[in-house]
């Protein structure tokens, strides 16, 4: 019987979020990154919990869900390999506003919010570079919300 080889460890610098970034920010962040693996159905994030990390997805798929009182929860978007998850740790109060659930086996790197925030605050150029990468993600989510509001595929 042949042993299944363990997958190669994930490298922060390989994630599209950091690709092409000049300077040493990825190198400074790399020691903070924690590799995680989630099985189908595992919760990555729960609404109401403290937003304490930034997640870089490498493989798999995660559903972003809204919990509605007295109604079934609704998936408003899925994100997958190459995408990022969670910016609530940047904004006070640092609290998750959505649930995130793995709908496929998912591998990711997680950066803890406190040292990440401290590093971004310590050097404005780090913070600016990081926000320039994060803003398109926020804009894409906003576009998605606008399309949902327009209900383009509806009647």
């Amino acid at each position: 019987m042949t042993a299944v080889p363990s997958p190669a460890p994930l490298r922060l610098a390989d994630h599209p979020f950091f690709q092409g970034m000049t300077g040493d920010l990825p190198q400074r962040l790399a020691p903070l990154a924690v590799e995680k693996s989630y099985a189908l159905g595992d919760m990555l994030i729960r609404e109401g919990d403290v937003a304490d990390r930034f997640v870089l997805l490498f493989e798999g798929k995660v559903a972003l869900e809204i919990v509605l009182p007295d109604r079934p929860r609704v998936t408003i978007q899925t994100v997958g390999g190459g995408e990022v998850l969670g910016w609530s740790w940047l904004l006070p109060p640092p609290q998750w506003w959505l649930d995130a659930r793995a709908v496929k086996r998912t591998r990711c790197l997680e950066l803890p919010a406190a040292p990440l925030r401290a590093l971004l605050d310590s050097r404005p150029e780090y913070g600016y570079q990081f926000l320039l990468r994060l803003l398109p993600v926020v804009a894409q989510r906003l576009d998605h919300t606008r399309f949902q509001l327009m209900d383009l595929h509806g009647r």
């Binding site: 609704v74 899925t78 399309f147 949902q148 209900d151 009647r155």
Partner: protein, 289 residues
């Protein structure tokens, strides 16, 4: 301003007046979703099958109610029956949705330009459908798969409002099971029973694997969806000279005479509904046109 003369003579299909509907019989009616059905229509005895090109449409007439333009959704290799998928939205489409087997529907056409499937030979092909944009693209997919060896990679992205709004559900499962085709579905919102993608069709575009310089894309759906999808394809390296869109306007005569469907200098019924994006993109940015 682009000058275009009115047609000097109405193009007349051989052996028939373009103004007179032919009475077809409804052979089958199948529910696709809560508001969308597929009709299978057969011509009267003695009337030959009418060949159609992928992307063309018929004018379907419900006697005493009115007429509507509906794209042909069947297999071009089997024109002996006409297949149309109709969403109940207005007076005529609601009446068509209720047409039961054995009843009669008037048919004119097929009309309009088709998707340039032959021009895609030797190239990668991207099909992007939003909502009821899949039925007009289904004949293209039949053609591509019938001559699979003539084309490069085939990428299909289909977006709908919710999982319950996906048409041709069983056929999509077949297509998704094929190794020579990549068929992605995405919905605007879903419950926990859905393990597929949730998001815009445009969000799936960066993930497609194509050679942008040797790819043809066919887009069909709400115009704003096509506009943003074309933008995403251009960001991927394609140009507007290899992207085609199917436009929907208020078709009445269907033969380029009445002007109800006019968009700038184009009569959508006669010069379209399929257009090269390069030729019409400026009209899609004109406010309130």
């Amino acid at each position: 301003m682009v000058a275009r003369s009115m047609p000097s003579a109405v193009p007349e299909p051989p052996g028939a007046s373009p103004w007179v509907p032919v009475p077809f019989r409804v052979e089958q009616r199948a529910a696709e979703t809560s508001d969308t059905i597929t009709l299978v229509l057969s011509p009267p005895k003695g009337v030959p099958a009418t060949p159609f090109a992928p992307g063309q449409f018929n004018m379907l007439y419900v006697f005493g109610v009115g007429e509507a333009a509906i794209s042909v959704a069947g297999d071009p290799a089997h024109p002996e029956t006409l297949i149309h998928t109709v969403r109940s939205a207005g007076k005529v489409s609601s009446a068509l949705s209720q047409a039961s087997p054995g009843t009669t529907v008037g048919v004119r056409g097929p009309y309009g330009t088709g998707w340039p499937v032959a021009a895609a030979r030797g190239k990668d092909v991207v099909l992007v459908a939003g909502g009821l944009g899949l039925p007009p693209l289904r004949p293209v997919l039949y053609e591509l798969l019938r001559h699979r060896e003539l084309y490069g990679r085939i990428e299909v992205i289909y977006g709908a409002r919710t999982p319950k709004d996906l048409v041709y559900y069983n056929q999509i499962q077949e297509w998704r099971g094929r190794s020579d085709l990549r068929f992605q579905t995405t919905v605007d919102a879903a419950g926990r029973e859905w393990y597929g993608d949730v998001g815009l069709v445009t969000a799936r575009v960066p993930d497609i694997r194509i050679d942008p310089a040797n790819t043809v894309a066919f887009l069909c759906g709400p115009e704003i969806m096509m506009k943003f999808t074309a933008q995403a394809l251009e960001a991927k390296g394609m140009t507007d000279a290899s992207i085609y869109v199917s436009l929907e306007r208020n078709m009445k005569c269907a033969i380029g005479v009445c002007g109800h469907c006019q968009l700038g200098p184009e009569f959508v019924c006669r010069n379209g509904p399929v257009f090269l994006y390069k030729d019409v993109r400026r009209y899609l940015s004109v406010r309130e046109l």
